[in-house]
């Protein structure tokens, strides 16, 4: 453990901050793809997650990007993500590739899961390019559950397709189709007219998702599940400088420094907000937001609820605006 790690209080049961993580490993997985292994600053467990979940990665340059978790959920001490260099990624992926190094510190939000693996008699996983990342823990789980599965994995070329070595162990359940030598994925051959007990999980570029969705248009709701990567551009937050929180009902204003949670500062100011898990998981500390722009780091709100900006979980969430107004 480095000196900087020990300077932080260990992450015990009463720690209430959005976790900060250190980049423990950075590896090149394919052309244009690196993986990052993240460990909690100060040590300790990271929040639990399920296959299909993603985290918010808050980069030192102030940008936030979402990345699917593609590691082993049985290891509570590390998260792994895969990052593709995207030319139009508004600086997030370029920063990860060019400027983020082992030992650097990043912020984490979530994990959240909009793409959960649900029970099925059989799974068909379809990955395009970096869309393989959420599917990696899914195939591991299907294997564990002994549910039959196939993975169709398409990409530009072998050299651009990440994690092939890890998939090799699964043998003929994995169908790798690099476009330059094998052409496009043969969806016609794989997608049945009616799903029966098969559930289809698809993640990849927009055109692939559109094609799959079109082919499955007549299926019952919930049998095709897709995850679309949307590069969400977030303004440079006040997170490095701290921010002010106005408590509208009690007519007070408190200042939350960069290294404290809203919940901690409220408690020190004698403002009681009931909480429980202090990880943004249980929802006990939900507080109404009357003004300002919350920086959501919880695992609970969906995209619409986040965008509404009318509530936040003060144990982990912060502020993008200099000034936040809470109904307290």
């Amino acid at each position: 453990m480095s000196a900087a790690d020990t300077a932080q209080a260990p992450a015990g049961p009463d720690t209430a901050t959005a976790p900060q993580a250190r980049v423990a490993a950075k590896r090149t997985m394919a052309d244009g793809v690196v993986s990052l292994t993240l460990r909690r600053l100060g040590g300790g467990r990271l929040p639990d997650w399920t296959p299909g979940a993603h985290i918010d990665l808050v980069l030192p340059n102030g940008t936030t990007r979402q990345y699917s978790l593609c590691g082993d959920r049985w290891d509570p001490y590390s998260f792994r993500i895969g990052v593709l260099r995207e030319p139009d990624g508004h600086g997030g992926s370029d920063f990860v590739h060019d400027e983020l190094h082992e030992g650097d510190v990043v912020g984490i939000g979530g994990p959240r899961n909009n793409f959960p693996l649900v029970p099925a008699d059989r799974y068909l996983f379809i990955a395009g390019g970096i869309g393989i990342t959420p599917l990696l823990p899914m195939v591991a789980q299907a294997e564990l559950l002994q549910v039959p599965w196939d993975l169709l994995y398409g990409g530009r070329s072998y050299s651009s397709m990440a994690f092939l070595d890890e998939l090799r162990d699964y043998g003929d359940k994995v169908h790798v189709t690099p476009h330059d030598t094998h052409g496009p994925l043969d969806l016609d051959a794989w997608l049945p007219a009616h799903p029966g007990g098969t559930k289809v999980y698809c993640c990849g570029p927009g055109p692939l998702l559109d094609t799959v969705a079109h082919r499955c248009a007549g299926w019952p709701t919930g049998w095709l599940r897709t995850e679309r990567f949307v590069a969400r551009s977030t303004a440079d937050g006040a997170r490095d400088r701290g921010f002010r929180v106005e408590l509208r009902r009690s007519g007070r204003t408190i200042t939350v420094p960069a290294d404290r949670s809203v919940l901690q500062v409220l408690g020190e100011a004698g403002v009681q907000v009931l909480s429980s898990c202090r990880q943004g998981l249980c929802g006990t500390c939900e507080t109404a937001v009357l003004g300002g722009e919350p920086d959501h780091r919880d695992s609970l709100l969906d995209d619409d609820e986040r965008a509404a900006g009318d509530c936040m979980f003060v144990c982990v969430s912060r502020s993008l605006s200099e000034h936040l107004i809470l109904d307290l």
């Binding site: 049985w74 429980s276 929802g283």
Partner: protein
């Protein structure tokens, strides 16, 4: 059952934690247990016990090392047949636990409950109005039991007839997590009948179309869970959603009846209702104990625990551990009870906690408005259960505001 061979000699206690004497007042035993060491051998059952906050919290959150799938009672499902099909939530581990938990978390989440808030507050007002026709009554039957039974079965979507089965069924289920003692034997004659009734209520056609039960079945329609899982998830609501809340409300009312200055504080600041409820859950811990089973040879506080060992976690003892709480025996609304383990912790943490808090907030708000003072009016009587800390009778006298 395998014997627990541990690497270092542990402190050992011979007391039966499920004896009537301990269940009547578990606090002295829990203190001895807490002070004996971070991990203690209970020779009466040859199991290991944790009673300090830190070790209980660590064990609750470490699902990788401490499984629920071998049962969260004394019975070890690796070797013994459970008395009913195991719960898909309480008695399951990832990955099987994931889908049922995700579905129920959403149905019982704070935002999903908003639509019930006004109705439950109005129900609480109506019930309190009716109860306050008398100045002396039994707070267990008239309030702690009556309010959850008034709002919760409706919210689930249960038919009217047969609701009187809910409390005895839950009581037996919670007894069954303990050893097969007289409390379990007492419930045994009705098990078949009560189980049959509960199972019948879990069918889609028995449930109203706008309740929690119907939402569980809708999740099966979307494929989020299977049709085989849906009735068992409804069963979890019926098993875990009634007795626990009843006893938590009774604990809260007892706390106020014996701490009049705290009642004054709540009357001055009714917005403390939620804090008061959680403080009562910390103080009295309606769910006292749960077991985990070591998935492998794992270490707890420097002791290697062999795979398959049953570990008994004393939630109530952890919630009064002076290492974690100042003046732990005081019921104090100025305390921050957050992060108590009365609802558990980690991925099995009580999925219905927001339902319980909403029920409590509604009832306490209505009472705080009408009742100036509440005090005990006669001898109280405990209801003994292997898992729950409960009251059979709380005679109270109130002074209306």
């Amino acid at each position: 059952m395998p014997t627990t061979a541990v690497s270092t000699p542990l402190p050992s206690l011979g007391t039966d934690p499920f004896s009537a004497e301990v269940l009547e007042n578990p606090l002295p035993f829990q203190e001895r247990l807490r002070e004996a060491g971070p991990i203690v051998h209970l020779s009466h059952y040859d199991i290991l016990a944790l009673a300090r906050y830190e070790s209980v919290h660590a064990t609750l959150t470490d699902w990788q090392s401490f499984q629920s799938g071998a049962g969260v009672g004394m019975s070890n499902f690796r070797y013994e047949e459970p008395w009913r099909a195991p719960s898909l939530l309480l008695e399951a581990d990832p990955p099987h636990h994931d889908a049922p938990r995700a579905v129920l978390s959403r149905i019982l989440g704070p935002r999903a409950l908003r639509r019930l808030r006004d109705a439950w507050f109005a129900d609480a007002e109506a019930l309190v109005d009716q109860v306050l026709a008398d100045t002396e009554f039994d707070a267990v039957t008239t309030l702690a039991e009556a309010f959850p039974l008034r709002v919760f079965p409706d919210a689930v979507g249960l038919p009217r007839e047969g609701r009187e089965n809910l409390l005895p069924y839950g009581d037996h289920a919670f007894n069954a997590f303990g050893p097969s003692n007289e409390l379990v034997a007492k419930g045994a004659p009705r098990v078949a009948e009560l189980s049959a009734w509960v199972e019948a209520q879990c069918a889609r056609e028995r449930l109203a179309t706008d309740g929690f039960g119907a939402r569980i079945w809708e999740a099966a329609d979307r494929g989020d869970i299977t049709e085989r899982q849906a009735p068992l998830i409804v069963r979890s609501l019926l098993t875990a959603g009634v007795d626990t809340t009843v006893h938590a409300l009774a604990a809260t009312l007892y706390a106020f009846a014996t701490n009049p200055e705290q009642w004054r504080r709540l009357r001055e600041r009714p917005e403390l209702a939620r804090v008061a409820f959680d403080e009562a859950v910390r103080w009295e811990s309606p769910v006292q104990v749960f077991f985990r089973t070591a998935t492998d040879d794992v270490e707890i506080a420097g002791t290697t625990v062999p795979s398959g060992t049953k570990i008994l976690m004393f939630l109530g003892a952890a919630n009064r551990d002076p290492r974690r709480w100042d003046a732990p025996d005081a019921f104090d609304l100025s305390r921050d009870p957050s992060a108590h383990v009365g609802f558990g912790m980690g991925l099995h943490q009580c999925v219905g906690q927001h339902v319980a808090r909403l029920e409590a907030e509604a009832l306490l708000t209505a009472l705080a408005r009408r009742v100036q003072h509440i005090e005990l009016a006669g001898p109280t009587r405990r209801h003994l259960n292997n898992t729950l800390r409960a009251w059979a009778s709380l005679p109270v006298r109130v002074h209306r505001a």
